[in-house]
Every structure is written in C-alpha cells, then in structure tokens.
C-alpha cells in the first residue's frame, strides 16, 4: 500500500506565530481521556512516539509523570543513530493540559517549554502543541540541528510559513 493515508492526517498544521514559537495542531478520532493516556503513560508512549518507520525503536522511555518529575526518551533510528530527549514536567492537569521542559541532549542549552493542550471538538480530540524557545540563539541551534538531520525541505512549505506568521496563535481553522 503506497503512501497510506492516516485518519485526520490532513488536520495536522505547523505554524510559526513568532520567531521563538512553534505551534502544532492535529485532530484525533478518540476520546480526550484516551489521547491523554496514550500521550503520557510510558507503556503507551513507546508504542508511537519513536516509531517513525521500520527499524525505529525507543530503547529508553522513562517517565516520572508528576509535577517536577523527570522524563527521558531515546529514539533509535534504523541505522543505529540515537536521539536522546529529556525534560521535567511543570504542570499536569488531566485530561486537558500538560506543560513540560524538553531538551535535546546534544544541545543541553536549547531547552524548550512545551504546552500540550487537549480539547474536545465535534466528538474528536484536538491536540495543540506549543513549543517556546527562550531566545532566538537557542531557536537557531534547533534550526541547525534540523539541518543536520537533513529534514527533507521543499519550497512548497513557504506558503505555510507565511500563513503561520499571520495566523493568530489560537483558533486554527477547523476542518
């Protein structure tokens, strides 16, 4: 099956409301409580978070899911490359809101503050992720990392970028 189409895939949007903030949103066809569980409990997290394709795995998935608790997750690619992330939970308010620090370990100074919101929307659940970087220098480190990982890039996305700049931080256009 070529390029399988995953449900609600077209609801995924990335925007850049400002130079230090990345905003992402997506709908899921599941109740909010279930999405919250799947996103936060380690036995669930390792099943999706790092499974980006054949050969990917999550050799480390440690989650102390409480305010002030630490988490660490490592993503291993098919060619053995390790991508280790860690952080600390700042706010936990089930089933709607989790705020945490995220650090990509090769760049320990590049920490971001991530807010994950779950809201009910027409029988589905909308995830809204906002990642905020403390400075533009840090943001650029992330940018450089992105280039190193060789993320496939196309000018098609320029439109998205421009649209994101004018889009209000909230209220992504509902589908």
């Amino acid at each position: 099956m070529a390029a399988s189409k995953v449900a609600n895939s077209d609801t995924f949007k990335v925007t850049t409301p400002s130079a230090r903030v990345i905003h992402m949103t997506r709908l899921f066809d599941a109740p909010r409580e279930l999405v919250f569980e799947a996103m936060n409990r380690p036995e669930h997290v390792r099943r999706w978070w790092g499974n980006l394709g054949d050969g990917y795995s999550v050799p480390v998935c440690e989650v102390d899911f409480r305010v002030g608790g630490a988490w660490r997750m490592v993503n291993q690619t098919a060619d053995g490359h390790m991508a280790p992330f860690r952080g600390v939970y700042r706010e936990i308010d089930p089933p709607g809101r989790v705020v945490y620090i995220e650090i990509f370990e090769p760049f320990p100074d590049a920490e971001s503050l991530v807010t994950a919101l779950l809201t009910e929307e027409g029988g589905k659940t909308r995830l809204t992720l906002t990642a905020e970087y403390p400075s533009e220098a840090v943001r650029d480190m992330v940018l450089k990392t992105g280039m190193e990982t060789g993320a496939a890039l196309s000018y098609d996305h320029l439109e998205t970028v421009a649209a994101g700049l004018k889009a209000a931080p909230r209220a992504p256009s509902p589908r």
Partner: protein, 124 residues
C-alpha cells in the same frame, strides 16, 4: 565566531519583514515573476512611496533584490532567507507529522482493544 548571532539577526529580520500582509503579497507576486515597482503597486491600491517603503524592508531582510536597470529597477524574489524560516518549521513537521500519525493509528488499536475487552483503562 559571531556567526550564530548573525544567523539570529538575519532570521529576526526575515520574520519581521514577513509579519505584514502587504509584504507577503508582494513576495507572492514576485514568486511568479520579477516586476517593476509600478507593476507591484497596481494591485495594492497604494502609493508608490508606500510600496517603496515595503520594498526597502524586504530588501534589507535579503528577501528581494533590485535590478540595475536605472529606469525599471525590477524586483526579484530571493528565497534563501525564506528557506531558513521554512527549515525551522520543516524540522517540526518532519518529526511530528509521522509521529502523530503513528499516535492516531495506536489510538485506534487501543479503541479496538477496549471495545473487545470492555473498558479497563484508568488502572495504573
């Protein structure tokens, strides 16, 4: 040395230049073909000095180049700074799009399991 800062400054200038609907419209127009200031001003119902001001901001941000032709000074899109901004966004898209697709698939597996065995989530 200092190149980090330079990159940051350049990106800030790009973001600032893009944070205006008229300037984005000008860039969209230039993406199709290069054109003169007069041609650019037409669809915007805007005075030439106002358009020139926007063009100066875009030029400072390195988003456009002006031709040498003294009469026409045609404007041309320079995509390199946009590429840096796109990369910033693209990194997240590249990682999170497949990741969240995978989450959706997993959620459907969980739902199917629950339907089979009755709800027993919420246990630690």
């Amino acid at each position: 040395m200092g190149s980090q800062q330079t990159t940051a400054d350049r990106l800030s200038a790009t973001f600032a230049a893009l944070a205006d609907p008229t300037r984005r419209a000008i860039l969209a127009r230039l993406a199709a073909s290069e054109c003169s200031v007069t041609e650019l001003a037409q669809p915007f119902a805007m005075s030439m000095p106002a358009v020139s001001k926007h063009l100066r901001v875009l030029e400072r941000a390195g988003l456009i180049a002006r031709g040498r032709d003294a009469q026409r000074r045609p404007c041309r899109l320079k995509a390199a700074p946009l590429k840096a901004v796109a990369e910033w966004t693209e990194r997240f898209r590249a990682i999170w799009e497949p990741r969240l697709d995978r989450l959706e698939i997993y959620l459907q597996e969980l739902k199917a399991k629950e339907a089979k065995h009755g709800r027993k989530q919420g246990s630690k």
